[in-house]
């Protein structure tokens, strides 16, 4: 059983490349016969907010599934908090996952449980704490995301932003070492978005968590990330602080960070020449 107030030691957070909590080496992975990653190397520093960015379809979410052991790599190694996922057994994987929290794109709250019970869910499943203590822990976490007053509501009664904040409270209720956000800004209004951004920063600093944020919202993520990895074509094409990436001497990085419609990532899906096609069909005299 995991201790309730956290068994991990306080984490110092100097930006030291050797202090990485996730190490990915030479990772290869494909789905449906299509290679997604080929020779991917990533080091995610402990105690920092790391953003993984890239155009749609580059496998950002797949990377999260690989890091959390939901899918297995074809070759290469993934080491998370000292555990090599290649040789980990299912039971050990579950132990490792108790040290991780994950915020899903749509919150993924259990729809048959109230907000309070959703946040209490991991505690009830993994600990034998007395009800009084569970109540206290859950309300503390809900207070941290500003939703203590919504404890008795059902997930269906929440707005999109509230939904994600409850999911965030649930993700931190076991005091994880690593907190993973899958596209946390999608479909949020500016206010909810600001709230989520502030929470990511505050939770990271206050709890000493390592945060991994997958997103393609350049502006939002630039304000909060310490390190950014830009993925494209199954590889890391750029790595650095958001400022460094904005002035990165590479076409693809400039296209992505600047939001340009055409560039190395083409605007058009591959197709034969349009003019030639029209000629061939006799639609042009």
């Amino acid at each position: 059983m995991l201790g309730v107030t956290g068994t991990r030691s306080p984490i110092a957070t100097p930006l030291n490349p050797s202090a990485s909590i996730v190490e990915i080496r030479n990772l290869n992975y494909g789905a449906g016969g299509r290679p997604i990653f080929s020779g991917l190397d990533i080091d995610i520093p402990r105690g920092r907010i790391t953003a993984v960015m890239g155009p749609s379809g580059t496998g950002k979410t797949t990377l999260l599934r690989l890091i959390t052991g939901q899918v297995a790599a074809e070759s290469g190694s993934i080491v998370v908090a000292g555990e090599d996922l290649r040789s980990v057994r299912r039971a050990d994987l579950y132990v490792l996952r108790r040290r991780m929290g994950m915020l899903f794109q749509n919150g993924a709250l259990l729809t048959d449980l109230s907000v309070f019970e959703n946040v209490a869910f991991p505690l009830r499943e993994h600990t034998d704490l007395p009800e009084r203590l569970i109540r206290q822990l859950v309300l503390t976490k809900l207070q941290a995301v500003g939703l203590r007053g919504a404890a008795e509501l059902m997930p269906g009664e929440l707005s999109g932003g509230m939904n994600r904040r409850v999911a965030l409270a649930r993700a931190i209720v076991m005091d994880p070492e690593i907190l993973i956000y899958d596209e946390p800004f999608v479909g949020l209004d500016p206010i909810s978005l600001g709230v989520i951004l502030r929470l990511i920063r505050r939770l990271n600093d206050a709890l000493g968590i390592t945060s991994i944020v997958v997103s393609h919202d350049v502006q939002e993520i630039s304000t909060v990330a310490d390190v950014v990895f830009l993925l494209s074509g199954g590889k890391v094409v750029a790595r650095g602080t958001p400022q460094q990436l904005h002035s990165y001497p590479s076409e693809i990085v400039r296209q992505f960070m600047g939001g340009l419609a055409d560039g190395p990532v083409p605007f058009h899906y591959p197709a034969p020449d349009y003019f030639g096609e029209l000629l061939a069909r006799g639609e042009i005299p």
Binding site: V95, M102, F104, N106, A108, L109, L110, F121, H126, A167
Partner: protein
């Protein structure tokens, strides 16, 4: 010919998957029984919420059975045997089968679509990520809830059906109440009731298994959940009727 062969092999592989899934559910069941509150909730969902439809259907089936039986038996001058005929028909055959078909339509579809939607909205993945096995926490209680609820529903169906038969046979068609009940008690044996119990238990396992399997492995899209729900009803209905024949034949020996 080759296509037929491939599809035969595919369906055998599919059957193997279902059996493996069943074994996993059975292996997890003892631990799930320790948390009976979860199962009780599912017995309520599958059983208690199906009560009205089961009772109404039982009543009407019993009433029709009495009408048809009365007409038939009258030709041989043995209307007094109506109680026996209706009871045997209900307890051995119509009770388990019709209940199972209704159960697949009412509770099975609910189970399949609930699990499918949980899959589509990442709730099952979220549980995995919280180090909670969704099979143990979500699927097994639903499966066991169905397995327990189904025989109880079948029994209620038969009892209400007999009452319906009595209503039509005795109150309307004028069969003597004394001979209706006494003939029934004299000629319906424990083996008849056993056959009904065995059938309803097997149908309970079958319906619940198909529902949770289809839901758990549903394609996580709106269309996928719809397909899973449809397949639950269709597969359940066909397999129930097929198994019904096998069990009936086995009891004849």
């Amino acid at each position: 010919m080759e296509e037929l062969w491939t599809s035969l092999i595919e369906s055998l592989v599919g059957l193997g998957d279902v059996v493996r899934f069943l074994l996993r559910l059975v292996a997890e069941s003892p631990r799930a029984l320790l948390r009976f509150d979860l199962i009780a909730k599912q017995i309520y969902n599958s059983g208690a919420l199906s009560l009205v439809i089961i009772m109404l259907s039982g009543l009407f089936v019993g009433m029709v059975l009495a009408l048809q039986g009365f007409q038939l038996l009258q030709r041989f001058g043995s209307e007094d045997a109506l109680g026996t005929a209706a009871t045997i028909g209900l307890v051995k055959e119509l009770g388990p089968v019709v209940t199972a078909l209704l159960f697949a339509g009412r509770a099975g579809t609910a189970l399949a679509s609930e699990l499918g939607l949980m899959r589509a909205t990442d709730q099952l993945s979220a549980m995995e990520m919280m180090a909670v096995d969704p099979i143990r926490r979500v699927v097994v209680p639903r499966f066991l809830g169905g397995v327990i609820a189904m025989p109880l529903l079948a029994a209620i169906f038969s009892v209400i059906g007999i009452y319906g038969a009595q209503l039509v046979g005795v109150q309307i068609m004028g069969v003597d109440a004394g001979s209706f009940w006494s003939q029934m008690r004299a000629s319906v044996g424990l083996s008849d009731i056993n056959e009904g119990i065995v059938k309803s238990c097997i149908f309970g396992v079958t319906c619940s298994l198909i529902a949770v399997y289809e839901g758990y492995y549903a394609t996580p899209t709106a269309e996928g959940v719809g397909t899973a729900t449809t397949r639950t009803v269709v597969t359940s209905a066909v397999i129930i009727l097929f198994l019904d024949y096998l069990i009936t034949a086995a009891f004849l020996k």
